[in-house]
Symmetry: C2
Subunit: 406 residues, 2 copies
């Protein structure tokens, strides 16, 4: 049995945390100074673990095992949200490096090929899943023109950080037989159920509808209530009615959120002539997503028929399809988890998107979760218990061995 | 009987419309090029009407009659909203000049003293009611630091347009016995009731409450619906509940508006942790305003008690108290209107604020309205019928004579 070195793993995670540390959290957005320094440090760590490591042309750090295939890719992302937690993607990256270290320490596993990845810009500071999409060859020219909030494009950032002449690492179908990513759950389910490991069944699908309200702008003093066509009133109505409607049709794990909204022109003394909001909803079942979308479109049509404000719903961006994880890889993870903590693990969907969702398009992929304390994520307060952190890595290395051993 | 020259009046209004004309509307914000050109032209028109006219130190154009007092001040404002109608305040300014012209043409009225005013920045491009507040001595040093959206202060603008060394015109209690302002109604009431003249009874009071919602920011994918404390959901709830509550307690002419609102941080994938909106309400009766404000505060307290989101209500700025118009001046306007269009006029409150609201603090004031076609105002489509425009001026000159004649 290979045993991970828990102390080494935790020390490595704390060192990585130092790149961009702010209080208990981390500010390490893609292509920032701390992000690039972390990537160079990760490359060195991969080299020290016996891998051939590079920072590639889009910022991916990729450590290739010197062993021949079949190879398993293990990794996650090392960038953070504008105010990120210290684990998030960093956990899965350090797990992968620890797996490589641990396998190299035993004669019986030294010959197994694990390639380690720290993907670039999973969080979408410039472009969502930039690194993993590049890895599977799913990056279009337009993506290189995508900008951060300061207006710098991907191409400009890559030039600035000195990577524009580096080649891009690519998935090798002749070598790579699968991808495994570990991550903190970012939700409360494991903690609430008293489980220490989650084996992800699928990554939820997600759709966003732009709801638009078209009324008539008017003077807020002189326009009697009965003569108004107030787009803001319709927006508030929609917000309340959509909630009760979705509560009655949604699945037990469906979530929906109105995260942004605007009244136009947005002046205190003007009856809003138009308004909009964004409604995002997620579920692991595409049929549920279809039902929700139809209900929202029906509500918009009903409100338009009722008047006086016209309401319309349109997709704001391409939907994210729910992604099933590989049954084969899940079985290895489940077996490994059950051996280490019988009844202490569970199968569960991932309510958040991950690089595994991208890579699953090209190669069998799976994910392993460890608990988030209080379910907090994308926040400086994000944390997990040390023993859960170490356990997750142990399950991962056990699974990797069972996958790679004939 | 003095008869106004309708053709001359309409021609003057069309000339004034040319300063900043955009399509059927006017863009003449305070201290802009078109605004200052219009003010210089108005000063020349006042001089031509036999008045001693100046553009004063805050941009007011003031034409003082060479006759001794008692004097009546007649006027309105010549600046516009960012997208203004051609009549709005310009109507009342040209009425005042036409009154001065008409009085000067007859031996019987030539000795009557009417001082004519075109107030500066009624619309608040820099500071609401700048000119009329200066006239009654109600301008604080802080007002001179108030800025337009481009960040230019009143003081800087006055320097830029070359008025910083001009004295400010002031109300003269020994001379000025009252103020009358004519304006288009900016609402649908006169047109709906088939009346051609409105004698304003009072200018409505106005209050604005900032409603704040405090929940807990969270990940929109991984946070189950039951665990959320979504400030946006509370905002929508409030918007719906405040409407039904105010409908049951408001007076027949009460209006209320949520003109601006915001979800924070306002991101598609984040459950809003906080939110706010502005609720403005107006009524001519302070007791109604008290009842409305109490109901809104009660609703906020109820919602906080229900949870999970805390809701609070606080005044966003000093309330505007309802202002009664002078009974004496109203009687003169009513008598004049009745003589010209028996049963074709009505008493009514003003649902919009006007310079008369400011000046009424210092001297008896009154207002006269003419109909707005379709009730449209603060819009390029604002208009009134020519015959109503001329009738309004005729009633105004008749009333001025009856006020000033012993």
């Amino acid at each position: 049995m290979v045993e991970v070195d828990g102390e080494r793993l935790l020390e490595s995670l704390q060192t990585l945390r130092g790149f961009g540390a702010v209080g208990s959290g981390v500010v390490r957005p893609t292509f920032s100074g701390p992000d690039m320094a972390a990537r160079r440090w990760l490359r060195d760590q991969m080299e020290a673990a016996g891998l051939d490591a590079v920072v590639d042309g889009v910022g991916n750090v990729f450590g290739r095992s010197r062993n021949g295939g079949p190879a398993l890719v293990i990794g996650s992302h090392s960038d953070t949200q504008p105010e990120g937690g210290w684990l998030d993607g960093a956990l899965g990256v350090m797990y992968a490096i620890e797996v490589a270290r641990a396998l190299a320490e035993l004669d019986s596993t030294r010959r197994l090929a694990v390639d380690v990845a720290a993907w670039s810009d999973e969080e979408g500071t410039y472009a969502n899943f930039l690194g993993s999409r590049s890895f599977i060859g799913d990056l279009a020219d337009g993506d290189m023109a995508s900008t951060n909030t300061a207006g710098e494009s991907v191409a400009e950032a890559i030039e600035r950080v000195g990577l524009s002449h580096e080649p891009r690492v690519a998935l090798d179908p002749a070598r790579h037989i699968g991808y495994i990513e570990a991550h903190i759950e970012q939700g409360p389910h494991l903690e609430e159920r008293g489980r220490r490991i989650g084996v992800v069944t699928s990554i939820v699908g997600m759709r966003t509808l732009q709801i638009s309200f078209s009324g008539r702008q008017n003077h807020a003093g002189t326009t009697p209530m009965a003569r108004r066509s107030d787009a803001g009133v319709a927006l508030f109505d929609f917000g309340v009615r959509v909630r009760s409607r979705l509560e009655s049709i949604a699945g037990p794990a469906t979530v929906w959120t109105i995260g942004n909204a605007r009244l136009e022109p947005g002046a205190e003394s003007i009856v809003p002539g138009s308004a909009w909001c964004g409604l995002q909803f997620r579920d692991a079942d595409e049929a549920v997503l279809d039902t929700v979308e139809a209900a929202v479109r029906d509500l918009a049509a009903e409100m338009t028929a009722e008047g006086p404000v016209a309401v319309s719903a349109a997709r704001r961006r391409d939907p994210v399809t729910a992604t099933d994880m590989s049954a084969e890889l899940r079985r290895h993870l489940a077996t490994a988890a059950d051996a280490r903590v019988r009844d202490g693990w569970t199968e569960m969907p991932s309510a958040a998107a991950h690089d595994a969702m991208v890579i699953a398009k090209s190669v069998p992929s799976a994910m392993l979760f460890i608990p988030s304390i209080d379910g907090i994520s994308h926040d400086f307060a994000e944390n997990s218990h040390d023993e859960d952190i170490v356990l997750g890595c142990q399950v991962l290395v056990d699974a990797a061995i069972s996958i790679l051993e004939p």
